[in-house]
């Protein structure tokens, strides 16, 4: 699905991503773990086109997508969410979702004045879809609320909803669970599994919560210091000496406690 080949991204002299290579298979939920500053988010940004890599290539289904701008990747079905939830604060939740598919005919100055019917039809279809998504995420009661007023966890759900407005192929989730309570995290987890099973979305998830990773992800990739350290099931990763040293901590003699 996505192949990352020897990607390097430097900021000045600092090598945030230092020759990372990975291969993400279609239909999987891949977990990406690693200590803070391991380069996980930077790698996400490189794949999602927010940053262009210093060297290396990213391919999607065989096409070279290195350095394509985010909105172009979006139309190829590659979507991402943010570590800190982003939203269009001045719009309602429903409008936030309805913003999503770009290149609507209403975005054309000519159609704005002379293609009213076509725009109205499109908007109606979008509205129905947005309501469906809100219901799926169990936040349909928030449809008319300004997105700046909903809680942090609900914003995360809204971000997930954004990916459901189009037929995404692969979705990158950057710490969906950060700052979200257990119950809501379970709702998010359910939604991810359902999307994966029913719609065939491929997911890549950055997360620090090992329970969450354990429930969702196979395989798990561990990064440290800009490199890919190990790949395997969570159990394999937990047993990997290098991973324990870099991330899970050598301080814990009792390995069973790791990740609790």
């Amino acid at each position: 699905m996505i192949k990352v080949d020897n990607v390097v991204k430097t900021f000045g002299g600092f090598r945030a991503v230092d020759g990372a290579s990975l291969d993400i298979k279609k239909g999987t939920i891949t977990g990406l773990i690693g200590p803070n500053g391991a380069g996980k988010t930077t790698l996400f940004n490189v794949i999602a086109g927010v940053l262009s890599p210093t060297s290396g290539t990213v391919t999607m289904l065989g096409d070279d997508i290195t350095g394509l701008p985010p909105h172009a990747l979006f139309h190829k079905g590659l979507l991402r969410t943010f570590q800190i939830a982003h939203e269009f604060g001045s719009m309602t939740c429903r409008e936030n979702l309805m913003m999503v598919p770009g290149n609507q005919s209403g975005e054309n100055l000519w159609n704005t004045w002379f293609g009213r019917k076509r725009i109205a039809d499109e908007e109606r279809a979008l509205r129905a879809k947005a309501d469906e998504v809100l219901e799926f995420l169990t936040i349909d009661h928030l449809a008319e609320q300004k997105a700046s007023q909903i809680s942090g966890g609900q914003k995360k759900l809204l971000e997930l909803g954004r990916t459901m407005m189009v037929d995404a192929k692969i979705v990158f989730l950057d710490e969906v669970g950060a700052g979200v309570n257990r119950t809501l995290l379970n709702t998010i987890g359910d939604a991810i599994i359902k999307l994966n099973k029913e719609r065939g979305y491929t997911f890549v998830v950055i997360e620090h919560d090992m329970d969450f990773i354990g429930r969702l992800c196979d395989p798990v990739i561990c990064m440290a210091e800009g490199k890919v350290l190990a790949k395997g099931t969570l159990a394999e990763i937990k047993a990997n000496e290098q991973v324990i040293e870099a991330y899970l901590g050598t301080g814990l003699k009792n390995k069973d406690k790791v990740g609790a």
Partner: protein, 336 residues
């Protein structure tokens, strides 16, 4: 004491001119605020964009006049306005392509874009003077007054007259139409919503599949339209002189900042706040006071707080006070 005459005098010399000037400032400030909100920099070239648009409008007005086309009682400039807007939009889009786009791709900081816009300002300033010259040009024609002072006096039998000029009427009506259209556009149309989305959160807009170049292009076209309309109305009301438009930059920025940069409602409110302060502070109140106060208590002096030569000082002081005490402006714009 003669309250009726006092009110008429006040309306004639303060309220009517301030409403006209306020509408012009509001349209100018809307342009500045849109650029700030969506492209994220303070566009110093806005005054000269207004001058450029107005210049194109004037050239077309002259062309139509030479062909003998006119709008009867309305100024011919209204007919030339769409051409002025098109010309200005084209010029601004070329500027964007040649200058701003480069810096956008570099993800330049806003402060760099401000300096860049100053360079653009000097070039536009030069281009306008080169084409139309540095002199004053009056280009209004058609009927001068909706009600002249004499007609008003004859109608009401009052001592004081109230004159409403055609240009004032056109200014206010056009401003209302343009603002209504702009708000409808920003709030109801998909293009407007993508612009707001881009202004709200650029990263997210990109990741929602919104094409930034398209948003930028539409923004420039709208800004060119606003600038040309504002400039033409100002020129019809007073007269056209390239340097005056450059000077308008200060009250326009003051309006946008008082209202809150990035907030369209704020820009309009700010425009009227600045216009009313400028006019009331530089107006000689003697006549009004003589009418309004009991006989014999009227002042001997002019009661003019500030000479009109210093009118820009008013916007400047308001600007300073707002920046010191409420940097986000009246309507909670983005802080400067």
């Amino acid at each position: 004491m003669d309250l009726l005459n006092a009110i008429i005098t006040l309306t004639n010399f303060v309220i009517v001119p301030a409403i006209a000037y306020g509408s012009q400032l509001a349209l100018g400030a809307l342009g500045v605020t849109l650029i700030y909100g969506i492209l994220r920099f303070s566009n110093f070239a806005h005054g000269d964009t207004m001058a450029f648009g107005t210049m194109v409008t004037i050239l077309f007005t002259w062309l139509f006049q030479s062909w003998g086309i006119s709008l009867g009682v309305f100024p011919t400039a209204l007919l030339a306005l769409p051409f002025g807007i098109a010309g200005c939009a084209l010029f601004v889009l070329l500027t964007d392509r040649a200058v701003y786009r480069f810096y956008r791709e570099q993800k330049a900081k806003p402060v760099i874009l401000v300096i860049v816009s100053m360079g653009v300002m000097f070039i536009m300033n030069g281009v306008v003077r080169f084409i139309i010259g540095p002199d004053d040009h009056a280009f209004g024609d058609g009927e001068r007054f909706i009600i002249s002072a004499r007609t008003f006096r004859a109608l009401t039998g009052l001592e004081e007259g109230l004159a409403i000029r055609t240009s004032t009427g056109i200014t206010v009506i056009t401003a209302v139409i343009v603002v209504a259209l702009l708000f409808w556009f920003l709030n109801k149309t998909r293009t407007g919503k993508s612009m707001r989305a881009y202004s709200d959160n650029e990263d997210l807009a990109l990741l929602s599949g919104i094409n930034p170049e398209k948003v930028v292009m539409v923004t420039w076209i709208i800004v060119a339209a606003l600038a040309t309309v504002a400039g033409t109305l100002y020129g019809l009301d007073k007269s056209f002189k390239a340097f005056t438009y450059f000077q308008l930059l200060l009250p326009i920025f003051a309006s946008a900042i008082v209202g809150g940069l990035g907030s369209p409602v704020g820009a309009i409110a700010g425009g009227f706040v600045i216009a009313f302060s400028e006019v009331t502070i530089t107006y000689a109140w003697k006549k009004v006071l003589v009418y309004a106060l009991p006989d014999g208590m009227g002042p001997d002096g002019l009661v003019q707080l500030l000479s009109t030569d210093y009118k820009f000082a008013v916007s400047f002081i308001i600007l300073l006070v707002v920046l010191l005490f409420r940097p986000t402006g009246l309507f909670k714009g983005k802080s400067v």
